[in-house]
């Protein structure tokens, strides 16, 4: 079965991104197809490579990056939500004259059309959030 995942909440504050991550792994380990993980609202903060959790805690952005590296999972964050919250890739930082970018490896920034497309393409779209 082909799944899509939507993450609406930020890391650490809310369990949604943990649950989404565990569900993503279960999809892959179960032999299903994970079409895309789309991050919206504060969920875009899952993509900050500048996150520095204590060493005895899980590193949520790195965990997503590892998933993308190991399984080629398509991790997409919404551009409008990301710009509001200061998650930028190199191109955006340069375009807007900012001195830093912080998009973690394995993520890409794109539009909300990617969310709708995931809804169309996936057999099941599962939303994690309040």
């Amino acid at each position: 079965m082909k799944f899509g995942i939507v993450v609406h909440e930020g890391p650490y504050q809310h369990q949604a991104s943990d649950s989404a991550y565990l569900f993503a792994r279960a999809i892959i380990e179960g032999g299903h197809d994970l079409y895309r993980v789309f991050f919206y609202h504060d969920g875009v903060s899952n993509a900050s490579r500048l996150s520095l959790p204590p060493q005895d805690d899980r590193h949520i952005p790195n965990r997503w990056s590892d998933l993308a590296e190991e399984h080629g999972t398509d991790l997409v964050i919404c551009v409008a939500a990301a710009m509001r919250r200061g998650i930028l890739d190199d191109d955006m930082a340069e375009k807007h004259g900012l001195d830093a970018s912080n998009l973690a490896a394995g993520f890409r920034i794109s539009g909300l059309g990617q969310l709708i497309e995931a809804g169309i393409q996936a057999d099941r779209l599962v939303v994690f959030g309040d």
Binding site: Y40, A80, G111, L112, L115, I116, Q121
Partner: protein, 141 residues
């Protein structure tokens, strides 16, 4: 190539066909939060406007505190945040005209159909559950 791989390849070809997404899917957007206080309502509206470009079947539900999103005479000046209330009236121009309000949520908050900025259909929770069960994709905000 093994037979099951052929079947997979066929399935991939079908999904990769960007020009047509096949059958139109039924999307329902369930709005459950007050218009201000959190950003869910505003960003939900942004999704709905994008969705309109995809020629899918779109319905919107307003329930719980989400019914306040449609309240007439919204004034956000004192809050110093954007007033996006009028955007709900523009939905019709995007051919989004299936708007539903849950009766229980409306009545619990002392609202009536006359309080809303747009025309809506009021459904009780059983009718709403049936409507949601008939959808292909439900996004909750």
């Amino acid at each position: 190539m093994a037979e099951d791989e052929d079947a997979d390849a066929d399935a991939d070809a079908r999904y990769d066909d960007e020009d047509s997404y096949g059958d139109i899917k039924k999307f329902i957007y369930i709005n459950r939060k007050a218009p201000h206080g959190t950003v869910y309502a505003l960003e939900s509206l942004e999704v709905v406007l994008i969705a309109a470009a995809f020629d899918q079947d779109v319905s919107l539900v307003f329930m719980d505190d989400g019914v306040y999103q449609l309240k007439k005479n919204m004034d956000t000046n004192e809050l110093e945040v954007k007033n996006f209330s009028k955007t709900y009236r523009a939905l019709e121009m995007y051919d989004i005209d299936k708007l539903y309000v849950e009766r229980e949520s409306m009545e619990q908050r002392g609202l009536s159909i006359d309080d809303f900025i747009v025309d809506v259909t009021v459904l009780n929770s059983n009718e709403l559950a049936k409507l949601i069960s008939e959808q292909d994709v439900a996004l909750s905000f």
